[in-house]
Assembly symmetry: C2
Homo-oligomer: 357 residues x 2
DNA sequence: GGGCGCTATCAAACCGGTTTGCGCCCATGG
DNA sequence: CCATGGGCGCAAACCGGTTTGATAGCGCCC
């Protein structure tokens, strides 16, 4: 038996289609007695309005779109996305909206997805991983899609794009990490950044350099990673050398190379964990010989030994804020920039004063 | 300027709406010359058919639904989901379909999502994490949704549900792991399972017991975890005791308790990594004093030291297979059960013969 | 009692596609 | 020369809702 339609409900309740619609939307008053009859009929027939029909009539699809343009294994290991999506979902579900997700492999594919989104599939989109000279804001504007952008710094007011922005202050978190390290006595601190084409990665990198020079430490060593464990490990290899001059088989500390960093600030937890593991494998003790920090504060980081010092980014909160902002725009509110105060440094055992050799 | 409609295209091309539609669908032949005019007009107007209108007319929404009923932090750390979704997406995108994702917190919320799915939002759904006496197959059938189920064992033919199933042979992978451990000389092997309400977790647990008894090792110790790092750590605590009787500060091996397991088979990588970390923190050497295996083979596992022995589950392949099967059902094919041969044991340094004390 | 305003409802148009019965036109064959 | 048939395209119905101008019914007041 096919699904009941609004016509069936109207017939059973003895009213017209229009009245049923009004009873549900409340756009015009309906007599209490009539409303009861309609609801009863709808319940009897197990009727729920068809989203397809409603979408056509209202030209609102009732869902928003999200495109993830990263390699699947990065999405899988980086814990940001899942938590961000969960945050979005919590808000969207409350509003009766759906989330349409696409995972793509390259920018062209991503553009194609927005084209399809604009053809009556979603009402708006959330833009993640903004790059330098990103063409997507322009694209979605041309397509008539509402959008909200996620960034890691306060948007400049002179920016050409007038899209609403949800941002966190990533730079401060980096400053805090560097401060912690410097106060603990570190001087040779290295940074393993994310792909620098991402604005947020570049922001953190700049923040790292600024923090270092603020402490009079100019010789900041920076390696660009790509958020994978593999790149975290190879970055560590570059920074630490391929083997300790003197393995710790006998329990003594390895000789400290003059230019070997005593601390590394990684751009995410996965790279940090892989880097930590590598450091140990060449005989370095963490944190005695090398302090390590991550970024994202994945659930795993708290349960390592030593625990990984990281930055809790409030991914859920950012997802919620992004969804909320987008919903507001969809209901006609003016675009706004909202800050999410989600970043919080979590200090754990992986950060300690350097051992004095 | 609002989006062009099929009527605009028809007018510009000098034909009727119907002919435009036919030219695109190919459901009836259209003269070559006419077709060219239509396509040219469509291109001029940058017209793309509205999915909303098409959905109403064809009663096909062009998207499928996926509900994740797990805690956000578990989804975030467990790498299965992202890779599974990426696999789905690859197939769906090719077919011009979308994926509607929902993350929910409890079974009631999940049921509500399926109700909404059935109201013209998706054409079919993929069911993950099947539980004992799961009510979802029945629910989606009642709602008239097409569905495909993902499992970790061959479906019994006497099962009441006639839904198509995409399955992998998880039990064999567990048998292989246990075989590896036994051949390496282990006898006291423990298992940290996933939540046993999940059919796949129960399957693996049974497989573990069967493998042990096949080797004449009856005293299988099993702890139930919940896939989080926290539970992996506390499971390790239960199995290994809270501290090594003799710390390795002087480099000697800790005294082996008579009943301490020499190997632990974890149900996923995150728990394994947390467990490994705990073991080390109480002075046990991995793999010398304790061998450890995981499940899922996350990208991180390959880049630890020692590398984590795990089971590569072919999550992408399973996603692809699930999407493909669902698409087939949607186009009218008979429900089928397909096996995905994705499980492959990846041996790394965390598995070795027990040290003879 | 007639005019007025208000409320509750109806009927019809509309959203933008798909589907199908029908008719036109031209070529072909008897 | 006329009947037949096939290739093309048109017009209209339809999908299941929403929206709105019109109307019926009612009470109220002057």
């Amino acid at each position: 038996m096919p699904r009941a339609t609004i016509g069936d409900v109207a017939r059973v309740a003895g009213v017209s289609k229009g009245t049923v619609s009004l009873a549900y939307s409340g756009n015009r008053p309906v007599a209490e007695e009539t409303r009861r009859r309609i609801f009863a009929a709808a319940e009897d027939l197990r009727w729920t309005p068809s989203q397809s029909a409603r979408a056509l009539a209202t030209s609102r699809t009732g869902s928003i779109g999200l495109v993830l343009n990263r390699r699947p294994d990065v999405i899988a290991t980086d814990t940001f996305f899942s938590r961000f999506i969960a945050g979005c979902e919590a808000v969207l579900a409350e509003a009766g909206m759906g989330l349409m997700l696409h995972v793509v492999g390259d920018p062209d594919a991503e553009a194609a997805v927005y084209e399809r989104f604009a053809a009556g599939r979603v009402d708006g989109v959330i833009l993640l991983d903004v790059e330098q000279d990103d063409t997507r804001p322009e694209l979605v504007r041309d397509l008539g899609l509402s959008a909200v952008v996620l960034t890691g710094e306060q948007p400049r007011t002179d920016t050409s794009s007038d899209l609403p922005v949800v941002w966190t202050d990533d730079a401060s978190a980096i400053h805090e990490l560097v401060d912690l390290l410097v106060h603990a006595g570190h001087e040779r601190i290295a940074h393993v950044a994310g792909p620098l084409r991402y604005v947020h990665a570049a922001t953190r990198r700049r923040a790292f350099e600024a923090a270092m020079s603020r402490h009079g430490l100019e010789e900041a060593r920076i390696v660009e990673g790509d958020f994978t464990a593999a790149s975290g490990r190879s970055a560590a290899e570059q920074l630490l050398g391929s083997a300790a001059p003197c393995p710790t088989a006998d329990g003594t500390a390895p000789i400290t190379l003059p230019d070997r960093p005593t601390a590394i600030v990684f751009a995410n937890d996965v790279m940090a964990i892989a880097g930590l593991s590598y450091a140990r494998s060449i005989g370095l003790r963490v944190p005695d010989d090398l302090s390590i920090t991550g970024f994202d504060d994945s659930e795993l980081s708290a349960h390592l030994s030593p625990g990984l010092t990281s930055v809790s980014t409030g991914a859920e909160a950012r997802g919620e804020a992004a969804a909320r902002t987008l919903l507001a725009v969809l209901t006609g509110a003016a675009p706004q920039c909202v800050e999410v105060e989600g970043n919080r440094v979590v200090r754990r055992g992986s950060l300690a004063p350097p051992s004095t050799v």
